[in-house]
């Protein structure tokens, strides 16, 4: 096959796996690039070779789904050009640039399916950069993929489905859960009960985890507001206000926090996709139609990277985007299946919107951060630095970036972008949409020094992939 006919899938999680399955089923041979050493994405991340825990132990209620997804991908191995341990760091003129075990490569493509997933949505709080403070997803990965807890006594803070799930998984695995602190209030959920009920078993599982935590005597508070992570050189506690406004303190040597998931859309931006401000996600997302077509011909989006809807939806969206790609190429197949998938997705979207309102990102907390709180953890830019940059009359967030180095560090604003936008919007008295977004820039992640050359022998990422 000549290279200009390549179909490139980025990501081998739920969306990428299902997309690859559809395309391979048509005898196409998609290239699947994935950062991880094995397929599954973050949600169904596999454990390294030599680990023995059962799928049931690692994925709980989702074990059957995880195993089915892994089996699907494993069965495709001969029919896809699979490149694990490989990152796409730029996209330009229908060419993707990758780094991996064999060094740097360029992949020209005729069609691109971005299934890039998401990362934790973070709200900086004083002390959040101390050793011992991790994202909720990070805490789950430590347990799921490494068999470790992030500390001796772990506090969980935030809101969203992962909060109860990860706290449950920790307690169940024998870790000490110091407290589960949910910023959502019951009153947030009341207006959206009909929407929540469309969640069916997903809702039931969430409630089951909450009840399990209560039944097992784990302190569980709703409606809290974080004050600070305490500690000098490392996390030693967590302070918060309870629902009545009283200050409380929890002793812990680790804390996991996060408010749902935010999409990873840097590659969509680099591919030239139009972006729109999404009021539910409170951030800019790539435009796409109901079947995953972006604004750029030949570029398709699926999974949480195209707007967070969760793992079940990601499987549907991956399949749907691949079917749309086939339809756009004149392959007359899958019309009924596409219709079915869209109906399922509409139902999941209703639940997702209700969930976002019931377990919201706590609006106003970032804007209220004290001036000395670090917002950009890469560069140590504080809330005060961001506010002061406003006296220079920048009109939007990229001007603030130029003045403060906000978002200029290694993570490119993945962790701080949402909070920084809120601080700027509040300071300027404008909407979040008017603040703009930190634009994605290549390389979207730091490149290895000495990649592909003699240094490879000393490169443990290479060792792991062999």
């Amino acid at each position: 096959m000549s290279s200009d006919k390549n179909i490139l899938i980025v990501g081998a999680g739920p969306a990428g796996t299902r997309a690859a399955e559809v395309l391979a089923g048509q005898g196409l041979r998609p290239i699947v690039v994935d950062e991880a050493p094995a397929s599954g994405g973050q949600v169904y991340r596999r454990q390294p070779a030599g680990f023995r825990r059962s799928a049931k132990l690692r994925y709980g209620f989702e074990a059957a789904k995880a195993e089915a997804l892994h089996a699907t991908f494993d069965a495709l191995r001969e029919r896809v050009d699979y490149r694990p341990d490989t990152s796409v760091w730029s996209i330009e003129n229908n060419v993707a640039f990758t780094t991996g075990p064999d060094g740097v490569a360029r992949i020209p493509f005729a069609a691109l399916l971005l299934c890039t997933g998401g990362v934790d949505r973070i709200l900086p709080i004083p002390g959040w950069t101390l050793p011992g403070a991790f994202t909720m997803g990070g805490a789950q990965i430590a347990l799921k993929a490494q068999g470790c807890a992030i500390g001796e006594r772990v506090a969980f803070l935030g809101s969203g489905p992962l909060l109860y799930l990860v706290a449950y998984q920790y307690a169940h695995a024998g870790a000490t859960v110091a407290a589960v602190l949910d910023t959502a209030r019951l009153s947030d959920a009341l207006p959206v009960i009909p929407g929540l009920l469309t969640g069916g078993t997903t809702l039931a599982k969430g409630l089951w985890y909450q009840n399990w935590l209560r039944f097992n005597g784990i302190p569980f508070k709703r409606g809290v507001r974080p004050i600070a992570v305490d500690g000098e050189d490392h996390v030693s506690g967590l302070r918060y206000r309870d629902v009545r406004g009283r200050e409380r303190h929890i002793d812990c040597d680790a804390m996991a926090f996060g408010w749902g998931v935010k999409p990873e859309c840097q590659l969509a931006e680099l591919a030239g996709c139009d972006m729109r401000f999404d009021a539910i996600a409170r951030q800019w997302l790539p435009e796409c139609d109901a079947e995953g077509r972006s604004s750029v011909d030949g570029v398709y989006l699926a999974g949480d990277g195209a707007g967070v809807m969760g793992a079940d939806a990601a499987e549907y969206r991956g399949e749907l985007a691949a079917l749309a790609l086939l339809a756009d190429r004149g392959v007359a197949a899958g019309a009924r299946r596409r219709k079915y998938l869209k109906t399922r997705l509409q139902r999941l979207m209703r639940f997702r919107i209700a969930l976002e309102r019931a377990l919201p990102y706590p609006e106003g907390l970032a804007a209220a951060l004290a001036d000395d709180t670090i917002v950009c953890r890469c560069e140590g830019v504080t809330a005060g630095d961001i506010r002061q940059s406003q006296s220079l009359e920048p009109d939007e967030i990229n001007r603030a970036k130029a003045y403060t180095r906000l978002g200029m560090g290694r993570c490119q604003g993945r962790m701080c972008g949402i909070a920084a936008a809120e601080i700027l919007a509040h300071r300027k008295g404008v909407s979040l949409a008017e603040v703009g977004r930190l634009r994605g820039q290549a390389p979207i992640k730091p490149l290895h020094i000495g990649i592909g050359g003699a240094a490879a022998e000393d490169d443990p990422e290479r060792a792991a992939s062999i």
Binding site: P131, A175, D233, G380, K445, G450, D459
Partner: protein, 106 residues
């Protein structure tokens, strides 16, 4: 002996706790010159945080860092190889003979 101390401020404490999966082959890596025992399949971050309290000093201010997202997104956990170059600790795995420095990134 400063060069044999894993980390300056967070030495003497460890961050992670291993709960399971202990039946794997042992691997020794060297961190700031000192041997650190790990198990095959541990990420560098896991190995470092089972042996110490942080993985690097923060280059723009006081304090240390111990990683954050564990999924290759936040870039908080880059550590140096003695032989030059640096790696992201949360997405790299231990290997016999590996030698790391935790002084800082880049």
């Amino acid at each position: 002996m400063g060069e044999n101390v894993i980390v300056s401020k967070n030495s003497g404490r460890v961050q992670f706790v291993r709960l399971s999966e202990t039946e794997r082959p042992e691997i020794t890596i060297h961190v700031d010159g000192a041997p650190v025992s790990a198990l095959a399949g541990d990420t560098l971050l896991t190995a470092l945080l089972l042996a110490g309290g942080q993985v690097r000093d923060f280059e723009f201010g006081a304090g240390g860092r111990a990683g954050f997202c564990l999924m290759g997104a936040c870039q908080d956990c880059w550590v140096q190889l003695e032989s030059g170059g640096s790696v992201r600790a949360c997405t790299s795995y231990v290997r016999e003979g590996l030698r790391l420095k935790t002084g800082g990134a880049e």
